[in-house]
Symmetry: C2
Subunit: 332 residues, 2 copies
DNA sequence: GTGAAAGCGCTAACAG
DNA sequence: CTGTTAGCGCTTTCAC
């Protein structure tokens, strides 16, 4: 069925060792032998068996990337960054989707260990990190994406979520809003908790009232649910700050269905600044994060740790979020 | 570093063979031995090395999925379907992004062969399919997603793209449009070619004029480029049909920036019906494809071929596209 | 029911 | 520079 290194050796009339050398240390084999062996490799269409290869050498050229939601453009942007950086250094990436579930996350971590990935990029679902230690014990490098765990000896690339939350509220209160809804997922999601902390802090400072509307998932459908809850409120807030753009898009959809004018009657502010935010019904103002750049940075950090383990120093890189003003927000 | 099966054997005072049996044929080992060994496996935190495992047995539990663009929500939907179906049967999926480039596609195919994936789901970049044969020769099952190659002995899940193209034009001409722009990527993309063929056919039948605006990539940025080209035309068509929603979103953005009213002055019709189509500035009418369902179906077909190779029969499953009418299209 | 032993395809010493 | 050989960690006969 499959052509093996042994077959190549036989056909080229050399030993398996030489074929192996052609593959891994071409500079050490005689030019003509090299050419001949490379020729037969091509003729036979030989592709080395990665399993066997790395079984022996002990390290693969694959990475794992575990994100909470591939359907969220923010994470696909991150993924693209990771992939580009990895592929530049000839690594392949397993993209895994934890769906914000610790069970699924665990399952994937196991699979990745089985697959003997060299390193893992992960946006952990929650704070419990013994699974991460399990990987590290096995010599798998781990770097955190969009998340930072204090006091851990590992690389991370994150965004200052507390600041992002503040930024949003400061902007909204600056516009004159004092009655604001904060739409978010469960506090077990660290990003949510941090952004929420920033929101609370800034609101207190500005003397604004913040009503928290909590939903289970951070997608458009749940955004619609959140909007219904808001519409059921005694007094409808004049501004709604959403923990991500997907929620905001859902909120806006329902608001518009109910004939509320954005931003005249209600301002809506999102978070992530995904590409679609700009083409939304009312172009969405949002707190922007450098998704692609985060992916690239994280992958570079991880690969550096993989390939130069001795000299590698763990780094915590933190980006700053930025406000992008569009049409969905306005003065009170 | 890593705990091996041998360590477990030693700790549980059994032979490696028995531990292997515990893992693979638990029913064959004595209950108490089973319990004891499972206990030590847990204590030691042993995770079998997938490489070694499948090196011997010859088959892995991983699949590859190669799509032209992960940033396109249509394909992330497909990917979710694939992942859900695969994970239900305990398979992991490598998500690879070919970026519509044959080179990248080749590169990934090689990586997947190296990784000894059991099967591959692919939306091939172009018609040349010798790379697919290379995989099949190695015993890797291949199924085509969103694409059908006639006369090939393989499974495929596709949508009738010719019909989709027709559907769009029929709808638009039914609305009274006779001067239509068809915005699409290069004809080397089979979906584009097929949809284009449907467009041409239906236009001819209805006696409508179709101006083809071709761009290099099918994303929003290129949609904006396309719109600029359209605006430069002598007479601006009354309807624009885009080969995917990303293009349509870009087109609409630029149109609106130029103060053209949709649908009063120009109707815009997309293709794919991605989730964001509904929340666009003007909710986008679109030709809908059952993305998630396609992913599930394709993965099931593939896994069936992997696991029941003898009884497996290749199937060509073709879904029908459907028109979803929203606000971006109107009577001429 | 369990153990011993032979590989799976490859890499990495080490001889020659 | 090339060949030989001993494993990597596991599965899989085949005896016991």
């Amino acid at each position: 069925m499959s052509v093996s290194l042994r077959d190549v050796a036989k056909a080229a009339k050399v030993s398996v060792g030489t074929v192996s050398n052609v593959l891994n240390r071409p500079e050490v084999v005689a030019p003509e032998t090299l050419a001949r062996v490379q020729g037969t490799i091509k003729d036979l269409g030989f592709v080395p068996n990665g399993f066997a290869r790395h079984l022996r050498s002990g390290n693969s050229r694959t990475l794992g990337l575990i994100v909470p939601d591939v359907a969220n453009p923010f994470f696909t942007e991150v993924a693209r960054g990771v992939e580009d950086a990895a592929s530049k250094r000839d690594y392949a990436v397993f993209l895994c989707n934890s769906d914000e579930s610790a069970t699924k996350e665990d399952r994937y971590i196991n699979i990745l260990i089985e697959q003997q990935v060299r390193g893992v990029l992960i946006t952990p679902t929650d704070v419990k990190s013994d699974r991460l230690d399990a990987m590290r014990e096995r010599g798998i490098a781990v770097t955190l994406v969009d998340r930072e765990i204090k006091g851990r000896k590992q690389c991370s690339v994150s965004v200052d979520d507390i600041h992002g939350g503040q930024l949003g509220i400061e902007y909204l209160t600056g516009l004159g809003h004092t009655d604001i809804a904060w739409v978010c997922g469960p506090d077990s999601i660290p990003q949510v908790a941090d952004r929420g902390a920033g929101v609370a802090k800034a609101a207190k400072f500005a003397g604004a009232t913040v009503e928290t509307i909590r939903v289970s998932l951070m997608n458009t459908t749940q955004g619609e649910e959140a909007a219904k809850k808001i519409l059921a409120l005694k007094t409808i807030p004049t501004a709604i700050f959403c923990a991500n753009d997907l929620l905001a898009l859902g909120v806006m959809r329902t608001l518009r269905e109910n004939k509320l004018r954005i931003p005249e009657q209600v301002s809506v502010l999102g978070y992530d600044d995904i590409e679609f935010a700009a083409s939304a019904a009312v172009p969405l103002s949002s707190i922007s994060q450098p998704a692609y750049q985060m992916g690239v940075t994280a992958a570079d950090l991880l690969l550096n740790e993989c390939e130069e383990a001795e000299t590698h120093e763990h780094q915590q890189i933190r980006f700053q979020p930025q406000l992008v003003e569009r049409a969905s927000t306005g003065k009170r």
